[in-house]
Symmetry: C2
Subunit: 238 residues, 2 copies
DNA sequence: ACAAAAGTGTTGAGAGTACACCCATGC
DNA sequence: GCATGGGTGTACTCTCAACACTTTTGT
């Protein structure tokens, strides 16, 4: 009926004898820059796609976990550690890299822009920040990856409270609302936004204020460490 | 400041020169069996974990996509094609396989039990169906994988309507409710369940009835092909 | 007639939504 | 005193959640 046996895991087989794909980890690095959601990209120097922009990434080393590889890539580009990062998806179309078979595990990192080390010139690779709403031509299937990352980020914003991961440790409610508005690309009602965020009990006042010079100073909030960031959504079946 | 350059994607490098991990695809196959949510497992014959049960899977061939590999594995075990399947997560701890580095991309398939070909004995590998609520000892990190798959399935049930993917083409509302109750492990109110499912407009009556001999015959429904299965959840920020 | 499963409505509570004005500060 | 951004409350609507009886069939 089928070629069942030959296709099973060859448990008694040395896997190193198999022709196998390369595995990379790519990291979509999001930050809020100048009232815009931007991603950090790297300019490719060599073929294929020489001169085009690409998501930072690299091969998974034989003794590091996927998370470690992603954290390493992130630190290499931004010198940032310990920020919000999660696995997005694994892309593995056979022809996505014209040179050879490469399967890439993609992570998304949310980075407060003020935490980034912009070491200009100490890296051989040219990097740049690009608006997610005005992307350049991208290498490989990286456009598809970025689009998917944005979709997932927006979706996640709707039922969790990850927005503050893109802000400094202390922020005002207006800062947070602006972050949501930038990412969701729509304006939100100030009163309803505040009521919801505050009733979720994930923020606490720092006691400090932020003054822009102009206007009334605003209370600064921080994320409550032990809070449950996941807000209960309406259940389909109660 | 950092060893940035050496860790970037070596674009000008032949990736085949890298020491690299193996990549497998594992498929968690769920079905409803005898009022229970069960997963199909394979008994391992060789070390490591000889005699223990494992999720079916195998190496990704060099010219097939991840989805094709997953569909192939599913067909090998069940002879089922064209069912609901989605990528769950990629597991890659360096020590998860004691022999060598193996990164596994895990898919979840939802299979109507009546569609499965139970070709007994025509396969060298011994297979079995196990209740998700009473699992045997499992090889590798497969217990963790199954637990995560169940969590995601439950979560997904709460905001989409994938439940019917585990049922035959035609089913009654009581069948569907029972599926939800089995997976969520709680009982649901019949009137509220029906109202919600029907108001979602994803089902249509077939006109046929199902009679069990006892009791009043029930209307049979089918999934409306063009329906939007994703039910809008309560948005955190309207 | 009775056992067994299908099918059907209403009400009270809580959350969502829309909406406009006063407050504190710097210049 | 005025420009700028921060901060607050209420009424209506809609969805959720809880709850019990009638209908259709087989035996």
């Amino acid at each position: 009926m089928m070629d069942t046996v030959t296709n099973n895991i060859p448990e008694n087989y040395d896997p190193s004898a198999f022709a196998r794909p390369s595995v990379t980890v790519d990291v979509v690095i999001f930050a809020l820059v100048a009232e815009d959601l931007q991603a950090l990209l790297i300019k490719r120097k060599h073929s294929p796609f020489a001169g085009m922009w690409a998501i930072p990434g690299g091969f998974v080393r034989i003794n590091e976990s996927l998370e470690e590889a992603a954290a390493r890539e992130l630190a290499e580009e931004t010198n940032v550690r310990n920020v919000y990062m999660e696995q997005l998806y694994t892309f593995g179309q056979p022809d996505r890299d014209p040179r050879t078979r490469v399967i890439t595990v993609v992570y998304v990192a949310l980075v407060p822009y003020d935490a980034i080390d912009h070491h200009p010139g100490d890296d051989a690779a040219e990097t740049g920040w690009f608006s997610m709403f005005n992307l350049p031509d991208l290498a490989f299937d990286h456009r598809e990856i970025l689009d998917y990352a944005l979709t997932r980020l927006r979706y996640k914003l709707e039922y969790t409270a990850v927005g503050f991961e893109l802000l400094p440790d202390e922020f005002t409610l207006s800062d947070l609302q602006k972050a949501y508005e930038i990412i969701l690309h729509e304006s939100l009602d100030k009163r309803n936004f505040r009521r919801k965020i505050l009733s979720a009990n994930i923020l606490e006042e720092t006691g400090r204020m932020k003054s822009l010079g102009e206007g009334r100073p605003a209370k600064l909030y921080r994320y409550q460490q032990n809070a449950i960031a996941e807000i209960k959504t309406r259940r389909l079946f109660p």
